[in-house]
């Protein structure tokens, strides 16, 4: 499955799919990196000097005064908004030990068995592009493939022998699916992946609600608000976050738009919905508070006030909320279930000597990483959110590069911080341990970083440019990193936790996937599987 970085990655509000089975961990797509000021070693690793600086950085401190602008003091210009790296990455979807991979060029969908690299092929519609995993109560691997060229979707089921297909017509520009936990309901919708890719009059307002248990029942087309952003499905209701509000759709014998919560122009761009679809957190840029809406009563929201403009609000599946007010250096956190009309449940702290504007929180809510994308503050702040003596204890970790985003492992023990490299056209990432105090492992890449995937035992980072495609595989907690050259441009990556294997799907006319043993380092590429003649290297 694809989990977006940052907020959407770790919370349910932008959940496209329920997490698929036990095998899949965080897999993240990134925009291409920008230039920065670091260089990498031949193997993509760095050696620190005694001062904790990288070669060539001239002894500059990594966080204090290098590139920092606009903390509001001394007349410096204000910092821009924090940036969310929301580039969609169409991962092959893993269901158990199986990988579904779509090839838009050939129109085929491949089902690869990660255990033995066997391949099964199916011709889908025109330009199958996005793949989304489906829960399968029966245990049979299932997936939805969106065929961009024919505006329909193929619902695929593997019964152990062959793959069956059910075709469903979808609204134009559909590129996302949301599926309920029980696998009964699915919602097809379209999201503007790249700003400006649609005309302002194209609102992408049509969604289709599909009953996956009854294909005789035609999909119900509904109109929601302008430019949907995400869909959360719960029993008998779909919550559709749109650019200017939230549409509430009833699911049942009758499927219809039952309510609309107007949030204001653009407010939906920073709205999170809890996994149970009962509440929404809304941040209005520039305001020093954020709102918690009850989506059942649709009454007045609970307002949480901070000491300055709220620059980020994160929500985890576990209901942990972490909000950051950059100018005030303030962090606020609470458990949503404990929030009442008083501030009793709200914990606050301030972080000094660091610019923090964004937060990335572990899925289990135990730890978070605070950072900024708006200033070149080459450090992050790790903060403990576990109840107890260390609650809100923080420490700064120097990482030597600017930051585009942060991905945490599900258990909150590690984080990958990525961003532009020292030179134009390069990238860099840092491995930060959160469960113990260690220096970050900083790695330069020879190309901008495309994707990051983190598991409890290791991680996988893919980078690409016109000159090189490479993957970096790391082992946790050792922080060992190896670099592998890829045969072609990476399309998507992931880690099959049960198998201990990472995979990189690549652009290839007949299909190519590289499997990399996270701990063994063993590499195996499967190419040409669409020709039914597979080459295993």
């Amino acid at each position: 499955m694809i989990l977006k970085r940052k907020r959407e990655q770790i919370s349910a509000r932008a959940r496209l799919l329920p997490l698929i089975l036990a095998g899949l961990v965080l897999s993240v797509g990134l925009a291409s990196g920008c230039s920065a000021s670091e260089s990498g070693g031949a193997d993509g690793s760095f050696v620190w000097d005694d001062l904790g600086n990288l070669p060539g950085t001239g002894g500059r401190s990594s966080g204090g005064d290098d590139g920092l602008t606009g903390d509001g003091q001394g007349g410096a210009p204000p910092l821009p908004e924090e940036q969310e790296d929301e580039s969609a990455f169409r991962a092959p979807v893993a269901t158990g030990s199986f990988l579904w991979s779509a090839n838009p060029e050939s129109g085929r969908v491949a089902l690869l068995d990660a255990r033995d690299a066997s391949v099964r092929l199916l011709s889908a519609g025109l330009r199958p592009t996005e793949v989304f995993g489906l829960p399968s109560p029966s245990g049979k691997p299932r997936a939805i493939v969106q065929n961009q060229g024919s505006s329909d979707a193929s619902i695929l089921t593997f019964d152990g022998e062959s793959i069956s297909e059910q075709r469903i017509v979808t609204p134009e520009f559909t590129n996302r699916w949301a599926v309920s936990d029980d696998g009964k309901w699915a919602v097809a919708f379209g999201v503007e992946e790249k700003k400006g890719s649609f005309d302002p009059t194209q609102g992408l307002q049509e969604i289709a609600v599909v009953d996956l248990e009854d294909f005789e029942r035609p999909p119900v087309r509904l109109t929601v608000g302008y430019r949907p952003r995400s869909v959360v499905l719960r029993e008998e209701r779909a919550v559709v976050v749109c650019e200017d509000g939230i549409a509430l759709v009833s699911l049942g014998d009758t499927v219809e738009l039952e309510d609309w919560l107007e949030l204001g122009p653009g407010a939906g761009l920073d709205t999170s919905v809890t996994a149970d679809g009962l509440r929404a957190l809304v941040r209005h840029p520039g305001e020093s508070s954020f709102e918690v809406f009850d989506l059942e009563s649709l009454g007045e929201p609970r307002r949480v006030v901070m000491g300055g403009s709220v620059t980020d609000v994160d929500l985890t599946d576990s209901g942990r909320v972490v909000a950051v007010a950059r100018d005030a250096g303030e962090v606020v956190t609470f458990l949503l279930d404990e929030l009442d009309e008083t501030d009793a449940a709200i914990a606050r702290t301030t972080i000094d000597d660091a610019v923090i504007g964004s937060a990335a929180v572990a899925k289990n809510g135990d730890r978070a990483v605070l950072y900024t994308t708006a200033a070149r503050d080459k450090q992050v702040t790790a903060i403990d959110l576990r109840p107890g003596a260390d609650f809100l204890k923080s420490r700064k970790v120097s990482i030597q590069h600017a930051i585009t985003g942060v991905v945490l492992s599900d258990d909150g023990a590690s984080a990958i911080v990525y961003g532009p490299g020292a030179e134009s056209g390069k990238g860099a990432f840092s491995v930060v341990t959160l469960d113990r105090e260690r220096f970050a492992r900083v790695v330069g890449t020879n190309a901008p970083i495309q994707a990051v995937s983190v598991a409890s035992f290791g991680f996988l980072v893919a980078a690409h440019s016109s000159a090189v495609s490479e993957a970096h595989v790391g082992r946790l907690p050792e922080l060992g990193v190896d670099r592998f050259v890829l045969g072609s441009r990476p399309l998507s990556i992931g880690i099959l936790e049960a198998e201990g294997v990472g995979y990189v799907a690549q652009a290839h006319p007949e299909g190519r996937i590289t499997f990399i043993g996270i701990r063994s380092g063993e590499v195996r590429s499967v190419s040409g599987y669409e020709l039914s003649a597979e080459v295993v290297e």
Binding site: P200, T201, E206, R221, T223, V224, G225, C242, G245
Partner: protein, 541 residues
């Protein structure tokens, strides 16, 4: 009450719903200077700011086929024929008309079994195409003389009377003051009368006993009856300001509401007694809408038209979605006039203040909602005001509004928009729920929106766009309340659109030398195009 305001045709048949034409290339009206116009120019601004242009009434009609019941009538001035097409079976019958049949109008059932009327411009007569058996499509064609230059129709609700008149356009001193009153029947009665200089509209009362002709000097009230008794009852002179005036007549023909530009009052004229009531207002009305039953009138005073100085313009001419700052200075007034109450107490009208610049207003048919907007400035907002509770909410359509058309059931509306900044679309429409606070749906179009028509039940709308040499005409079918939209490309330039409610068919006539009509099965979305029906041989695709 049937109204013709322009040359061409305005569809009175209940099966057709409301027909609106909207095109940036069309003139606002065909009125000549000195005739009434939909909008009114401002008086001197006083503040020195650039004056805001008047609101535009973007309603029009077409010289195009018409629908009567399940039959489409299409006139061909070149062949002197009228084609009659059965919408259900696509059977075509070609009827002989006079010389150059041009201006068509549907004839409602009631006094007759229905059919159509067409003005033959070269033979100075009209063909009455009377249905004698709709099932079999049998139609009888009769010709009656009409005055020279007739180019418009006004037809009573039951079709008992039809009035041919001349909507003036062009130069010259001819007053076009003749009208021809016809009683369509097997033995039609015909009478010609003279009315005021350059008539601009004719209203026939619901009971078809009166016709009111609006012309340059004022109003002419005509008694309709047997040929011997029909005639002019009385005439009322009315003022104009800078050649502009707007007149609305109640469906019963009893009252005329007169709006004059620059005047802070509304004039109500009792057409039976001649009594005039001038209602003082807190500013100049920029628009006035009358309910279908004539019981309620709704008007709007723009911020620049207010007398109380409460809201001066900030000079903004673009109130985009983010124009919150400029909104602070913009306060418009929406007024409701319950007419019976007003007549006895002219000050008994209600006022709602809207914190925005609005200058046009539309009342839903059920009179439950008032829609306020402006097309004088680039304002993307439509305000929905509950007529009873006065509660109001704004709906942001993300693009400047040109026109807002409520559905017959008052639950939805179609807004015609100008493409927003940054858009490559040539046109845009929005579909908005009125009865519930749900989000609107915005759709860009590849060519200008040309025609909007609703089904009688209000559950569908048919919108056509008019392409040019580089773009195709398109028909959009919208469904309510789901706000679903289906798009169909049309093979030729769209002329007119209709919905035949009972048959659930959308019809789009198009420009083609041998005639072309596209039929859309609305529930199924299936399309059939009939071409060449006038040749008697047709191509069905």
């Amino acid at each position: 009450m049937i109204v013709l305001t322009n040359r061409g045709f305005f569809f009175a048949c209940a099966a057709l719903g409301l027909v609106i034409a909207c095109s940036a290339g069309r003139p606002v009206s065909d009125y000549e200077p000195g005739t009434s116009a939909g909008g009114s120019p401002l008086g001197s601004g006083g503040s020195g700011a650039v004056p805001v242009p008047p609101e535009q009434e973007l309603e029009g009609s077409f010289q195009a086929p018409v629908v009567s019941g399940r039959l489409v009538f299409s006139a061909n001035p070149s062949s002197n024929r009228v084609a009659q097409i059965d919408v259900e079976t696509l059977a075509v019958r070609v009827l002989d008309a006079g010389h150059a049949p041009t201006y068509l109008a549907p004839l409602p059932t009631g006094a007759t079994e229905g059919g159509a009327l067409v003005l033959n411009t070269r033979s100075r007569d009209a063909s009455l195409l009377l249905l004698s058996n709709e099932e079999a499509g049998e139609t009888r064609s009769l010709r009656v003389p009409v005055h020279e230059g007739a180019n418009s129709w006004a037809i009573g609700a039951s079709g008992r009377f039809a009035i041919a008149w001349t909507a003036s356009g062009g130069s010259g001193s001819d007053g076009h003051q003749d009208i021809t009153i016809i009683e369509p029947s097997e033995r039609p009665d015909v009478m010609q009368l003279g009315v005021g200089y350059r008539p601009t509209a004719i209203h026939i009362s619901e009971d078809e006993t009166r016709a009111v002709v609006v012309s340059n000097p004022g109003l002419t009230v005509i008694e309709l009856g047997e040929a011997a008794t029909s005639g002019v009852l009385r005439e009322y002179p009315l003022p104009m300001v800078d050649g502009a005036r707007d007149v609305s007549v109640t469906p019963d023909g009893r009252l005329a509401l007169v709006r004059l530009p620059g005047q802070g009052s509304l004039l109500i004229l009792d057409l039976e007694t001649g009594e005039e009531i001038a209602i003082p207002l807190p500013g100049e009305l920029s628009d006035l809408d009358l309910s279908r039953d004539g019981a309620l009138a709704v008007g709007v005073i723009r911020p620049d038209g207010r007398d109380d100085g409460e809201a001066s313009m900030g000079g903004a001419d673009n109130l985009g979605s983010a124009g919150a700052a400029s909104q602070d200075a913009q306060k418009s007034l929406v007024l409701t006039f319950p007419l019976e109450r007003i007549l006895s107490n002219p000050s008994q009208f209600d006022v709602v203040e809207v914190e925005d610049f609005v200058g046009s207003v539309s009342l839903t048919e059920d009179q439950r909602s008032i829609l306020a907007f402006t097309n004088a400035l680039a304002n993307p907002r439509v305000w929905i005001i509950d007529a009873e509770t006065r509660s109001q909410r704004a709906v942001d359509l993300r693009a400047p509004v040109k026109s807002v058309l409520p559905s017959p059931d008052g639950r939805h509306a179609v807004a015609v928009l100008s493409p927003p900044s940054g858009s490559t679309s040539r046109g845009a429409v929005a579909f908005l729920p009125i009865d519930r606070p749900l989000p609107p749906r915005i759709e860009g179009t590849s060519s200008l929106v040309f025609h909007v028509v609703f089904s009688p039940e209000g559950d569908r709308a048919l919108i056509t766009t008019r392409g040019d040499s580089s773009t195709k005409s398109v028909a959009l079918v919208a469904g309510f309340p789901t706000l679903s939209v289906q798009s169909f490309e049309l093979p030729s330039l769209a002329l007119a659109a209709f919905i035949v409610g009972p048959l659930e068919k959308g019809i789009v006539s198009q420009a083609h030398p041998e005639g072309r009509i596209t039929f859309i099965d609305l529930p199924r979305g299936e399309v059939v195009t009939l071409t060449g029906y006038e040749l008697g041989s047709r191509v069905i695709e």
